[in-house]
Symmetry: D2
Subunit: 329 residues, 4 copies
């Protein structure tokens, strides 16, 4: 959850009917560049390697993002601008406090279409957060784009049915997750170090941007896995509606048209929308399945096994986990 005023003018834009393109996933992108540690995912890179963080900001901006989220969560006392809550009550309370500062407030949930927050449905959550003062509601992270758009649709329907009004946002993963249960991608066996085969292509992203737009969502961005070229794809798909292309499109022929000069005629034949729009890309992994069975070991929320730990688990504590893990495979 973040006060959306980090950059001025979001509400003005949304109220004017404009499309706002969000940015991508900083921690995942910087992990691959060597500046963030997977597991803790802490943002000390902002202090240790500011030029690397700045470069990524520059790339998302160039790709078409209107909004730059500060790369600071968990980082300091006075800048704690992103916060995760488990209960909708806490979220309501936080929205009320932030609202009192006079800034616009955006409230995002990690939620699937049939997911919920401790028994409260997506629609109900949205209503409560809008009543609490949220200007923008939506979902981010944990699921793939089409799943997230579906969840925001349910929120929008519920909010409108309740006679309320809000703006909607969506910031999904850049990974396909058709096999996730309600906990999302964290329970997939591939999380977080073998998600590569699930990465969305730029064409998947264009489809996502279109579906989000058609669903009435106007703040369209990304979360974990989004690289600059994914954001650019959103901006390119919505260029007709926005009236302009992002800067980075100077290095990108729309729909593969940059292939027009290729020497092989069958590669030149790929220089068109119909080709890339319909492609069903192979994984090149014939010994791998197409779906996974999420873990969860039957443990439900609130279980003591799920308490946040202060220290790394010792080898002695890990051993029984390793055994259990092998047995369930």
């Amino acid at each position: 959850m973040a006060p959306a005023g980090a950059k001025r003018g979001i509400l003005e834009r949304l109220n004017a009917g404009e499309v706002v393109i969000g940015d991508g996933g900083f921690v995942f992108a910087l992990e691959k560049r060597g500046y963030v540690k997977a597991g803790p995912w802490t943002p000390e890179a902002a202090a240790e390697h500011p030029e690397a963080v700045r470069q990524l900001h520059r790339e998302f901006l160039r790709a078409g993002a209107n909004v730059m989220q500060t790369f600071t969560f968990y980082a300091s006392d006075d800048k704690l601008e992103n916060k995760y809550f488990e209960h909708v009550e806490e979220a309501e309370w936080a929205v009320q406090v932030l609202k009192s500062t006079g800034k616009p407030v955006a409230a995002n949930m990690c939620i699937g279409p049939d997911g919920d927050m401790h028994g409260v449905s997506a629609g109900e959550c949205a209503i409560r957060l809008v009543k609490a003062g949220a200007d923008i509601v939506g979902v981010n992270c944990h699921f793939d784009p089409l799943t997230c758009v579906q969840a925001v649709k349910l929120m929008k329907e519920a909010v409108e049915k309740a006679g309320l009004k809000a703006h909607y946002m969506v910031q999904p993963l850049a990974y396909h997750t058709p096999d996730c249960n309600r906990q999302g991608f964290i329970d997939l066996p591939e999380f977080p170090f073998a998600l590569e085969p699930r990465i969305l292509t730029r064409w998947d992203m264009q489809q996502y941007a279109r579906e989000a737009y058609d669903a009435g969502i106007r703040y369209i961005g990304g979360c974990c896995g989004f690289e600059p070229y994914h954001i650019r794809a959103l901006a390119e798909e919505l260029a007709p509606e926005r009236g302009f292309l992002p800067t980075a499109s100077e290095k990108h022929g729309p729909w593969g048209t940059g292939l027009e000069m290729h020497t092989k005629p069958w590669v030149r034949a790929r220089a068109r929308r119909e080709y890339w729009e319909k492609i069903r890309p192979a994984s090149g992994r014939p010994l791998c399945p197409s779906m996974s069975k999420p873990d969860s070991w039957g443990v439900t929320k609130g279980h003591s096994d799920l308490m946040q730990q202060k220290e790394a688990t010792s080898q002695d504590q890990l051993r029984p986990l390793f055994d259990k893990c092998s047995a369930t495979q």
Copy 2:
């Protein structure tokens, strides 16, 4: 093909029995960051956005690369340090010229295990290039790591059988290509804009580094698709042999050990080598196949259809290609 002396000391290191870690794929990485156009793949970013290129250099260095290839091919008259030849005769001639400068010379081929250069086998090519003066021979690009290592093995066997001596290098793709024919990944229907499901994980990379090392290859790097974290994986796998970890490992627990603090016990159970070493990652794409049928339309080398064109193909020229492409699917 490049004079290997761009950075001093490669031969000294190889002669001393050290492992040299190469860098990754600049054009593909910079395309995703928004600075290179797919299709022409030209390197004007070096002049237009030097900070973006420099940042990527920094990341590969931090990830463990000993060698930084200049990002300049096709860029100027006097710096033409990479060059592609179709016939082994041309390559031989080029090696002789470069050798005459007194610098060490590395000669790489894009070749599969049963591939060849216009009818000359991998082993025969290697012998001729070594005889022409190449200090290092190997393969780069077009195929996945295990395919490339296999090809270098054949080269090494042939060179040794001929009573010659050389160093060996390998710079494969970071994409799985079990379905490629001898032209490599360019003929895959996914090239170049839907290769995501084929991207190798860091664990695939560790396996590759080990197999390359065991095959006697000592210059081990990457080509298209290699991101900094892939290079880091090579350096981590070979840390015991090299005696040190790369700088970027300060942000990486070996074999997933950074997950030791995760709240969910089934995620903590992934903090170990046996888990990631054996993982068979799902693609999350149940409507996609695992392999593709490479294009090629029955056209063989030398066909007029394959001549390099100076200008982009016009829409009128493209139309029959589009039709043909649809018909063959």
Copy 3:
């Protein structure tokens, strides 16, 4: 829907707590043997080739089936013992009529867990049929075993919650259908001539028999796709509960133990339950996806396009269908 008294004693057995094993799919099995035409699926083979039908009966019996359904649907005026209804009202009425004959009545539905009959849920259907006099309720056809067992579970829960009592039966497909929408396997692009990769193994069948038994279902059989060895697998899995093996088990080592004499040690190592129970069989089809997108062209029930036709569609009528089909792929 069929009066269950075709063979005497079903209710006696079920009332006594016994497990009744059903037979398999006659029309699909006889189609593969060359005696039934796919499309019309009519049973004239009973008259034209009685020895072929009799042989299949013999095989199912030998495999362990307690019940032989007459192979007569659509066959004559006075023997119309199987009938399909679209509305639960019709089914209720039919159950009442059959009940008045004094015979036991079994009422099956083609229904998925979240499917329904024109808006009436599985649970509600079951309640109404039991109230109408059905002794046995359950589902058959259209979905795979685990989906069907899930649907019967919902029926049982609803019936028991309503304070009623019934026996439960299940006769699923022998094809995996995780990708079906509520219309079942008919809308899969592979129906009916390319379903082979979906055929269940004997081990899948043992898992199904166990899950059905654990769910309290006591009439456990099969529908389209079930061959004699599938029925045998049901009877073998439930041999401990039933106290005996079927005759055909004299030609079957349980859990692959017939492999104990194989010359290759790695094949001998497959002579055990843990091997076959966990196997994840490959399709050997690397160019095929794992799931399909069911057809349906957005047409809903009651649409004039879906009226039963008396005559084969002419080539002129088929042409636009062919075009539409190609366009939607």
Copy 4:
């Protein structure tokens, strides 16, 4: 290997340029019907249940087979008409003996395109068997149709290059085996009880019949996995060349045309060749891979581990095999 004279006239037909359709796989088909035990695969059913065997003969005949192989191998002393040899020398000797009886002799090999018999290539084997007197040479079992056709092509090329003349036959598996190594399907982890997802469709069979015919093969049949409808598909594909359809085609609309009366328009749209010819059937198994890694434990021919055993392996002998098997997965 079998004297082809079991049915008179094969050579006459082949010499006259006719196509001969073979039969299918008796032991595998009868195993699924409950009369043969997998593992030993012995043919006592011919004595114990002659009506079941006779019924299957009838079905293959009706499906278009010109030739009925006797179901007698390993069955008696004087009728030993099928025999397997490991060395080409033995096969040569057997051909010579059979030839001396004055009957036509067909010699089949279980061999892949790059397979061989103890170091003798497919082409060389064919030459030696033709020189020894074989009238018909070819391959059967162990590999899928396209692999087998490829092997026979190599044999034909070699025989013709040697200035010899023969007829060619092929009797492949009805299972896809792109992942087999030279030992064929026995080493696949799915052998023999989980091969279902690999079963060829009738359309795969039509493609096979066409490719075999185009390769100059005129005795075209099947081995393990072939059911009557598979044989019918061969006969239907080659009906234009043979001038007639098989009897069982009275129950089969060519290329799915029996679907013309279906109520759903999207199913009617499948009543045509282009639909079924191009279909890429899904497996409905999203947790399964598309290919397997064949077993073999590094054991090569002649190893004592591979000796034929007289008695079933004891539990004590099996235990270390089970452990080894688990460790290699």
